[in-house]
Amino acid sequence: MTNNQDNGDGPMRLIDRYLAAVAAQLPAAGRDDVTAELRDDIMSRIEARQAALGRDLTDNEVEVILREIGHPLVVAARFGSGPQHLIGPELFPWWLFSVKVGLIVLVAVTIFAAIIKVISGQDVGQAVGQGFAGLFSGAMTLIGIATTAGYIIERQTEKPSFITNWRVQDLGVFEVARLDAKGFNRALSSGRCAPARLRKSESMSPVARALSSAVAAAVLTAWWVGAVHFGGLPMSEWVVEIAGVDYSQAARNTVALIFWPVVGYGAARILFDLFRAATPRAVKMTALGDIVLACGRLAMTGWLLLVSPMGRALGISDVGSVVERVRDTIQTGIGTGVWSLSGVVVLILAASLLEPAGRILISLVRLISGVDRRLSGHA
């Protein structure tokens, strides 16, 4: 009986190859220790088997022993000091929730983008096809980013405080994930677009509202800068055709001019929402931020309507022409049943001015009084 100690024979070659494969997966520190210990174990197993059989083992029999010990990748991984998973059981529900919410926003924005394309004259089939393609790549990007973030967080010695320091009043934000297939069918059949508690923002805590807003702003800003594609083609390549008139060049020029202001607004929105989430009771600061952001929205929408190349292309030159166009569109639409598409676009833009104007008024009241009624139910 031999100990198979000669480097030239078959079994030793197999063992060396096996241990080299294990060693290649191990960090340099401790590598020799691990392989030496494994080698001793393998040799002890071989000797015990040889003693039982009363003869040397064949290569195949040695291979069976090595296979019993396990694949080198698996064996080496067990010796690793870090987690043996990408995202562990503690973090996984957070990862899953983030991906679910991100996908819901992705689907909503993709549908919105497809509708805009169809309205602006693009073929329905092409818009839907591009929507699906964009949705797929967007979903893959989203899952990749979420997984990378989860991988990094999993390997921190201290987990983020949101995992342990949560409050019941902030749990409203997690109801977003209720919008599953069953909930969506129920919403469609009942004419409700979301669970009741989601529609009533008053029932969500200020922190939940701020975080939801931050997530939405982040996704939309990422889409605007081109980091995430929802609709296949970037906006600069869209064909915008309204009622047979090609507005593509005007739309592209408008996007180019307003690109950075929108990026700035998006970044400010995210920072402001995070501030709101951190200090939900800072009523006056929140009101002030709301006023500044609403002024930004008001200015951008006003510019879009009155000054931008798109506004000019739609035949708008001043406030008077807006009023006249809106009046004509409504009168003609109601009178004849024919609604001018370009008129409807002007109508939508004009109506969009009302939201920031209303927000400024409400926030002014909160700034002066220092009272936010939405906080009363979340003491």
Binding site: E37, G70, F79
Partner: protein, 109 residues
């Protein structure tokens, strides 16, 4: 998942926690990896190399074991034994094991 697979998954889960206790108990006397694995197998506790050796390293890094390399039978072997801290932890774990066992006996009837 069939009943057999379910049982097997639950059995492994049940057994996992007991491996540390068995390993610490066996290392009240000095052992090297292979002899420890064989000793545990004789007592009915089978453990793969890829489970045992990382466990030994973890227990050593936690200060519950000490180890040293020595030559025996013309081969270098790493010998492990329980540290004083390991003995104290083993005693506490043994007490806890008896308490759990007694509780389960009452629950299971």
């Amino acid at each position: 998942m069939g009943e057999t697979e379910t049982y097997e998954a639950l059995r492994l889960e049940l057994r996992r926690g007991s491996l540390v206790l068995a390993t610490l108990a066996r290392l009240r006397t000095e052992q090297y990896g292979y002899s420890l694995r064989m000793g545990l197998a004789e007592d009915g506790i089978e453990m793969e190399e890829s489970t045992l050796y990382p466990l030994l390293r973890r227990l050593e890094s936690q200060g519950l074991l000490t180890s040293e390399w020595r030559e025996e039978d013309k081969r270098r072997k790493r010998f492990y034994r329980l540290s004083p801290e390991g003995e104290a932890v083993l005693k506490r774990l043994h007490d806890e094991w008896r308490r759990i066992s007694a509780s389960l006996d009452r629950v299971l009837g």
